[in-house]
């Protein structure tokens, strides 16, 4: 019951943080594209990359922290399933990749897949290493 509540609270926090980062990037790229006079800046899912990498770091950290600090298992689930799970997103990543493919931007699509995976694994390993 406590675990479910922690997943809920941390999940909402992760979702709001992701939405805030998404909105910030959308807001700023729209300002930039106005400045470039008609030539709209090409979109690339930077916000999703950022939240996914940070979330992978958090899930690695959560795994090591509970062992190191003697926190209960409910905190590990809250941080990993709630915060890291709510912050990161798989569906926006795949949908953005398909959108890039639909615009024939094959290099950008391949880069989106590769960079999320590469930095995600590195961040999870860094989080685990830092906590242990």
């Amino acid at each position: 019951m406590i675990t479910a509540a922690l997943v809920g609270v941390f999940g909402v926090a992760g979702a709001l943080l992701r939405f805030g980062i998404d909105s910030w990037f959308a807001h700023h790229s729209s300002i930039r594209s106005v400045r470039t006079d008609g030539r709209a800046a090409l979109h690339w899912p930077w916000a999703t990359l950022l939240v996914n990498v940070v979330g992978c770091f958090i899930i690695g950290l959560a795994h090591g922290l509970t062992a190191g600090l003697g926190l209960g298992a409910e905190w590990q689930v809250g941080l990993a399933t709630g915060l890291a799970g709510g912050l990161t997103t798989f569906s926006s990543w795949t949908t953005a990749t398909i959108r890039l493919l639909s615009e024939a931007r094959f290099g950008a699509a391949a880069l989106n897949v590769a960079v999320n995976l590469g930095l995600g694994f590195a961040a999870a390993a860094a989080g685990s290493a830092l906590a242990s």
């Binding site: 997943v7 992760g14 996914n52 798989f90 569906s91 897949v113």
Partner: protein, 145 residues
């Protein structure tokens, strides 16, 4: 065109109603994912099937809604925000895929994590591609509203 359809055609920052909808969607999505994980627990040393199913279904629905909303941008912004980044964004997870793959690799379960990552990519992207087309068909059949 905005970076994502839920960011709206206007460039204004989200309203309080949109933030509230994202919070509600985030709560439902996170609890659904947690509940499915309890109902279908991962067997040690095997593919996390619950997460795989969550990510495939979430990719299909988000991609379908994305093309529907591109064709019908007048759908209320708070509703798009609550369902897109709120519910589906929180329901699906990237960190669990990476972390489980990393743990399986450290345990020497190389065929398992390669299968898991391969299936996540192949089926997740296929589901999003199928959803993208399905949404376009739905929008076309309904006509510009």
């Amino acid at each position: 065109m905005p970076a994502a359809p839920w960011t709206g055609s206007d460039v204004a920052l989200p309203t309080a109603r949109a933030w509230l909808a994202v919070a509600a969607g985030g709560l439902i999505g996170s609890e659904l994912r947690y509940g499915l994980g309890l109902a279908f627990p991962d067997a040690p040393g095997s593919v996390p099937w619950a997460t795989l199913g969550i990510n495939i279904s979430g990719s299909f629905v988000l991609a379908a809604l994305t093309t529907v909303w591109m064709a019908r941008p007048h759908t209320a912004f708070w509703l798009r925000a609550g369902i897109g980044p709120g519910l589906l964004g929180s329901f699906t997870t990237f960190s669990a895929v990476i972390f489980a793959s990393d743990q399986l690799a450290r345990a020497g379960e190389h065929p398992v994590w390669l299968l898991y990552l391969g299936l996540s990519l192949l089926l997740g992207l296929s589901a999003a591609g199928l959803g993208w087309r399905t949404g376009r068909l739905i929008a076309r059949n309904r006509g510009p509203a």
